[in-house]
Amino acid sequence: MSPLLDVRHLRVTFTTDGGPVTAVHDVSFAVQPGEVLAVVGESGSGKSVSLLSVLGLVDRRRTVVEGEATFRGEPILGLSERALRRIRGRDIALISQDPMTALTPVHRIGDQIAEQIRAHERVSRHAARDRTVALLRDVNIPMPERAVDRYPHELSGGMRQRAVIAMALSCNPALLVADEPTTALDTTVQAQVLDMLRRLSAQHGSSVVLITHDMGVVAEMATRVAVMYAGRIVETGTVAELFDDPWHPYTWGLLDSIPPLTGPRPRRLPSIAGMPPPPGRTEPGCPFAPRCRAAMPICRLPPPEQVAGGHRALCVLDAPTRAALRPPRVAA
């Protein structure tokens, strides 16, 4: 099966007043049809920029995007704004953290969704409205016949995010890019929205790239995971590989520093010392080495890649050393 989206050696550099700053270094990933790929990382790790630059959603005058990317086998990097606009919305849809980046406050939500449908397909106004009502029902907005005539400010945050998801799904996109879609929502509403997102993406057969910082959301939603740190994918694998046998010390830190909800409470939470390197960093070695509890002199050189099937990590540690440093945990 050929991948839906295939990104190779992506490098993104911003022009700033202080000179060029590289935010994404040599990132490669692929999204297979029907899968949910989670891209995790902390703020500034490059997780959003990697996706947005592929979709042409970064400021072109101030950004240099290098590498290759294909969507359905066709090159997508460097396409004209016009060509990209035909793809975005119809074949690839974006859901962002703040629904108000996708909704305009001055139009009714039904009109906004119908406009999106009519921009990509030749359908009558009436048919577009009917489809809009059906979509709003699909995303569990109560009384969709009335909700179409509401303005965004009349809806709660959770309802707005549902409307944005309805808009994103309106053209049956092959790929849905969801950038922290539930971060701004309350816990009980997040559970509703994730549940619905999972059901609808499966129903529409859409692939999903889920950008998040929440390892809990990753475990529940994703099939595969890419962990980013300082502009690089430091580890990638299936959800089972990553949660049951993580290889990279950064992934260990991410997982171990989450306070547990059951079982004994540790007196102190394991944490990662220090903080991420500044974005302009140019040293060739492992970017995590200054914070890594397993760092060695060799980490000053570019880290080698450990590979077993689809599980990969950018780290010098081999299997026996890893097992000694962090014994595999048996689930209680």
């Binding site: 109560p142 009980t188 997040q190 509703q192 549940d195 809990g216 909800l261 944490s271």
Partner: protein, 326 residues
């Protein structure tokens, strides 16, 4: 619980006027905190949990007297401080310190860290002037920052470091109670763990008492000795941290705990998810009867008719539910 309460909310109510009207009684008010009784005992950390609109921050602000209370009382160390004026409040202001979510908006960007920290020391004349430099270095040491940080400006620090500065400023007053409102929710996980550990260390070293307000239940479980869960201005359940997390008694607590995505690959290791219907009702127009009735999977007629009071269960916790598990 043997320790005396350090701070207490007694039937505390706070209302906000949404729409004024010149016709008496026809304006619309929102009761953000609805006759809440809650005590924080000496030496404990009370975790106050709730989703947006639950009133947890408003309650925290009433307790610290940052905002006025509409009805009821705030009692600190046995003294009613609800109606005290500026002068009478001075000792209270020193004993109770607040830490906020976004440290960059509570630190003056044009002043050096050393100046930010020494100003309250001078105002409250806690130390003679010649002792202040030594005290500042001690504060930096307590929160894990180098003394050189005193000469720098807030923007030169990362989010986690700025939160440490916010904590140092609170500690400068040698407070007895710290009210922390979402102090780690703006931080990345790895940094969040460092700051959570700092809160625990400081409590031990300085025998502090915390009211820790947060929406992240994992963080609350880690830091709290006791928890209180709020919904639409009322406390729905309160008790020992392990009592509540191991077996929630209120249907809302149960649903809230089940809704948290758990970072394990094996679906069998998760709680049974209860997906609540609907959303949190408008706080200006809460349901009659139990406030949770519109979303409760177990609601019965009694729940729609009568609002349940907080009542003790055999294990000592309090639950506001007509039908708690026996």
């Amino acid at each position: 619980m043997t320790a005396a309460p350090l701070i207490e909310a007694r039937a505390l109510t706070r209302e906000f006027v949404l729409r004024r009207s010149w016709v008496p009684g026809s304006g619309q008010t929102l009761r953000a905190v609805d006759r809440v009784d809650l005590a924080v005992h000496k030496g404990e950390t009370l975790g106050l949990v709730g989703e947006s609109g639950s009133g947890k921050s408003t309650l925290g602000r009433c307790l610290t007297r940052l905002i006025e209370t509409t009805d009821g009382a705030v009692v600190f160390d046995g003294q009613d401080v609800t109606r005290l004026g500026t002068r009478g409040l001075r000792p209270f202001r020193r004993s109770v310190q607040m830490i906020f979510q976004d440290p960059s908006s509570s630190l003056n960007p044009r002043r050096r860290v050393g100046d930010i920290l020494s100003e309250p020391l001078a105002i409250h004349s806690i130390h003679p002037a010649r002792e202040i430099p030594g005290r500042l270095r001690e504060l930096m040491d307590l929160v894990g920052l180098p003394a050189a940080a005193l000469d720098r400006f807030p923007h030169e620090f990362s989010g986690g470091q700025r939160q440490r500065i916010g904590i140092a400023r609170a500690l400068a007053m040698e407070p007895r109670l710290i009210v922390a409102d979402e102090p780690v929710s703006a931080l990345d996980v790895s940094v969040q763990a460092q700051v959570v550990n700092l809160f625990a260390d400081l409590r031990e070293r300085l025998s502090l008492t915390y009211l820790f307000i947060a929406h992240d239940l994992g963080v609350v479980r880690q830091v709290s000795t006791r928890v209180a869960i709020m919904y639409l201005g009322s406390v729905m359940e309160t008790g020992g941290t392990d009592t509540i997390f191991d077996a929630p008694a209120h249907p809302y607590t149960e649903a809230l705990l089940s809704a948290i995505p758990v970072p394990v690959a094996d679906p069998a290791a998760r709680r049974r998810r209860i997906i609540l219907k609907g959303e949190i009702p408008n706080a200006a127009n809460p349901p009659k009867g139990c406030k949770f009735v519109t979303r409760c999977p177990y609601a019965q007629d009694l729940c729609r008719a009568e609002r349940p009071a907080l009542r003790p269960l055999a294990d000592g916790r309090l639950v506001a539910c007509h039908f708690p598990p026996s």
